[in-house]
């Protein structure tokens, strides 16, 4: 009972979300240590570089936050990146960038909608649906492109295409601007709209959401369309950077990085708790750590070991914090 009283006495304004303390401190500590160890770390060019590098991941992780918040996940994000890449480039060859972008991003959103309908209306497990979609869409990207990269994009569209992936607006890299806008939008959607609140309600307890009159099926369709749309935009940005259509652009560990960043940021894998700002924090933790280790000439193999350990550690820290809060119930 005393714990509850203490809980109540905290002013809401002062309350710091305990889940972000871990990754926040880790990020701060890393920046301090790297600044001391490497003279190249704390420079504008290095920070710009890191932020540009991690922009696609920021977008993917923001999208991945939606399904994870409802207690699901989206395994098809990487395949959507590949599909968007080849469709955008392929359509661009004959019809220019505008139609290419619409067709490419539209195709990715359609995949998200298909995920949503299968999960929300046919009530198939998200893991199964998106695992199946991972294979189907990876295959579709190969079929569309004939298994090879789409090069030779027409001038001047190709320059504008690159602008989205590697250009600058004043001193600020364009992909970073896109990522920032998308994170802001998704944050507002999650915190300020009824459908965003429904995402938390479904993740918190689907049965309660249903019994409160929330359209659970529609909410799930929305969730997977958001994830698909964000993956599509990430695919578009990535393709712009390589100014071509690549059928295996998203086949690497992009998907696992996106899920990992959301988890490191402190969004609960069981749903109901978390948000996109946390996911952005998770992306920064991974991006700056990898960057610093690179500057210190530590091998990428060791980096992978460290990233994996951080994922486990952050979930463990979160569960400690949580079991502390559930003990109050007893």
């Amino acid at each position: 009972m005393t714990a509850v009283a203490g809980h109540a006495s905290l002013r809401p304004r002062l309350r710091i979300d305990a889940a972000i303390i871990g990754p926040g401190l880790a990020l701060a500590a890393m920046i301090i240590v790297y600044s001391i160890l490497s003279p190249h770390f704390l420079t504008i060019s290095n920070f710009t570089n890191v932020l540009v590098q991690c922009s696609p991941l920021l977008i993917l992780a923001a999208g991945q936050t939606f399904p994870i918040l409802m207690g699901g996940l989206d395994l098809s994000q990487g395949s959507i990146v590949s599909l968007v890449s080849v469709v955008t480039a392929g359509v661009m060859l004959d019809h220019g960038l505008g139609l290419g972008a619409i067709a490419g991003i539209g195709s990715g959103i359609l995949v998200g909608a298909a995920n949503g309908v299968l999960i929300g209306r046919f009530r198939i497990q998200p893991f199964i649906v998106t695992l199946g979609m991972l294979y189907m869409i990876a295959g579709a990207a190969m079929v569309y492109s004939g298994g090879s990269s789409v090069f030779g994009l027409p001038e001047p569209d190709v320059d504008r295409f690159f602008w989205f992936g590697g250009g600058f607006l004043g001193p600020i890299p364009v992909p970073l601007i896109i990522a920032a806008i998308l994170i802001a939008v998704s944050h507002l959607v999650l915190t300020r709209t009824p459908i965003g609140r429904s995402v938390y309600a479904v993740g918190g307890n689907e049965q309660v959401a249903l019994m409160s009159g929330i359209d659970v099926g529609r909410t799930k369709i929305f969730i997977y369309m958001m994830s698909g749309a964000f993956a599509s935009i990430a695919g578009f940005v990535l393709s712009g950077r390589v100014i071509s259509g690549q059928p295996i652009l998203g086949a690497g560990d992009l998907l696992l990085q996106s899920i990992g960043a959301v988890i490191i940021g402190g969004t609960s894998i069981f749903g109901g708790r978390g948000g996109v700002l946390r996911s952005a924090l998770g992306v920064f933790v991974v991006a700056f750590m990898v960057n610093g280790l690179n500057l210190l000439a530590i091998s990428t193999f060791i980096q992978e070991i460290i990233v994996g350990a951080i994922i486990i550690l952050s979930v463990w820290l979160n569960s400690l914090h949580r079991s502390g809060s559930t003990k109050r119930l007893a």
Partner: protein, 513 residues
């Protein structure tokens, strides 16, 4: 039924020896004294009935004896030796087995695997000896009178068969004390009769049994002694032959004479707002025709499994009726979903608070706003401030504690959680309120407050239908009572006719005196 193993203790207890002895047991939960100085004992070869209304402390007593709760005070002794269980496994090892109402069987394992779960018969290499397992399981199933193969998956079995598997499982553990919690709640007559035969056989083997039940008729002839709990206190232990039903009912309800009705019936419309005609759902309820008027509080009372919850959920459209019709305000009402039921002004405050009522990990204000989110839309989307403002109003009106709208709903006590669920639905402009066991697991103070809220709603011309098995609640709040038994309405009482004895009679026997 001759070869049930004798309990393992030494030469075995003789009939009448005290096996379990409980003295001065006390157990509290935040805000509630669940058990207060309870004395209770079980002798070898006896069936000891434990009776009481909902919330009287029966389940708590069982859970303490089973090692699931540790008591705050008092002692427990097994065959004269004081024991302190630190967990269910501990109690089982000492010979106390419980057969719970909600069966503790794993559906996707076979009957044999379930019986020996956590207690596997091992061969020389530490591997499970399947031949011996199935042979033993066969023997135990024969004992309890089950003919199906030991390889049968539990999900394939009906509830009655599962109950018997539970008994077989308890026998495997060589229970000295066997607790049966409402064992016939979901059994058919034939299955019940078989269970009673088994209980008599176990009696001969000097197993001591605690039999928890609401059904006064079935315990006659089966039990040796009766203990009645009320509000966490023991009302005494009596030999079954010396106590009649009338006395038991008065001990359970606490009314020596016919209770006085607390509520003065308010005036209400003549035209029903909600009306059902021959509503049926297979296996749940049948031929339900009820009417509900504005300003009226109607209570459906009945035992667990009588179909009350299913009926309310059907009115709320969480379930669809197989046949029959519902009319709302004179119009045929067949909205397809919970969403449209809410739009039509029908809301349900569910029995399973943590499962259906509120999201325990979300803050109070989000729970309260969950059904009315559009109300809090400003120019910038959902306004957290106006949601919190609204929650604060509700917190003050309903005296919710702690008075912090941002507190996680799961950290609140049961009564306050229930008030949060109520606040959610009071925020709508619904006209029909369905309550399923509105004060279950709620302390007395909060209970009275919730009753006040319900009366207030009636005064505001809402139509109210409550499912309750809490006799005191039924008597205190109802304008009209419908007694339900095995899916049917078996009696209707209103005004001065609402009396404890008649209600108990109707819900246990189905007859209206």
């Amino acid at each position: 039924m001759t070869d049930i193993d004798a309990p393992r203790a030494g030469a075995g207890p003789r009939a009448g020896d005290e096996i379990l002895r409980v003295r001065g047991l006390r157990k509290t939960f935040p805000g509630v004294v669940a058990l207060d100085a309870v004395d209770f004992d079980v002798r070898a070869g006896e069936v000891h009935a434990l009776l009481g209304a909902n919330g009287a402390g029966k389940s708590t007593l069982i859970k303490v004896v089973a090692g699931l709760y540790s008591p705050v005070g008092g002692e427990i002794a097994l065959s004269g030796h004081p024991v302190k269980f630190t967990g269910a496994a501990d109690a089982m090892a000492a010979g106390v087995s419980v057969i719970y109402q909600d069966f503790a069987l794993i559906p996707y394992l076979s009957v044999a695997e379930n019986i020996f779960l956590g207690n596997e018969i091992l061969g020389p290499l530490g591997l499970v000896d399947w031949t011996a397992t199935h042979r033993e399981a066969r023997r135990l199933l024969d004992l309890v009178g089950c003919a199906f193969p030991t390889e049968t998956m539990v999900w394939e079995l009906g509830t009655g068969q599962r109950q018997l598997v539970e008994v077989a499982k308890a026998l495997r553990r060589e229970a000295r004390v066997l607790v049966l919690d409402e064992p016939t709640a979901s059994l058919s007559q034939g299955e019940s009769a078989r269970l009673f035969d088994l209980i008599r056989a176990l009696k001969h083997k000097q197993v001591g049994m605690i039999y928890v039940s609401h059904r006064l008729d079935e315990i006659a002839g089966l039990v040796d002694r009766v203990t009645v709990l009320r509000d966490g206190k023991s009302m005494g232990t009596f030999p079954a032959v010396e106590i009649d039903r009338r006395k038991i009912v008065s001990l359970i309800t606490g009314h020596d004479t016919l209770p006085t009705r607390l509520r003065q019936s308010a005036s209400h419309d003549e035209k029903p707002l909600l009306l059902t005609k021959q509503l049926s759902r297979k296996g749940e309820f049948e031929d339900i025709s009820i009417d509900l008027r504005r300003g009226e509080i109607v209570v459906i009372t009945g035992l667990i499994g009588s179909g009350r919850t299913e009926l309310l959920e059907t009115l709320f459209r969480a379930r669809r009726p197989d046949s029959g019709e519902i009319f709302l305000d004179g119009r045929r009402y067949d909205s397809a979903s919970v969403r449209s039921a809410i739009r039509d002004g029908i809301v349900l405050i569910p029995e399973d608070r943590r499962g259906h009522g509120l999201c325990v990990i979300l803050p109070m204000y989000e729970n309260i706003a969950m059904a009315t989110m559009r109300r809090f839309l400003g120019a910038l989307g959902l306004s957290r401030r106006s949601e919190i403002q609204h929650a604060d109003t509700m917190i003050r009106a309903l005296h919710i504690k702690p008075a912090d709208a941002t507190a996680e709903a799961g950290t609140l006590s049961g009564g306050n959680q229930q008030k949060v669920v109520l606040a959610k639905w009071l925020s709508t402009d619904a006209s029909v309120f369905l309550f399923d066991e509105p004060t279950q697991g709620v302390d007395v103070g909060a209970k009275n407050e919730i009753h006040d809220i319900v009366r207030n709603l009636a005064a505001r011309r809402k139509a109210i239908l409550i499912a309750s098995s809490d006799l005191e609640e039924v008597l205190g709040i109802a304008d009209r009572v419908l007694a339900m038994r095995q899916g049917r309405i078996v009696g209707e009482f209103s005004g001065a006719a609402i009396q404890a004895s008649g209600l108990v009679e109707a819900i246990t026997h189905g007859s209206v005196s």
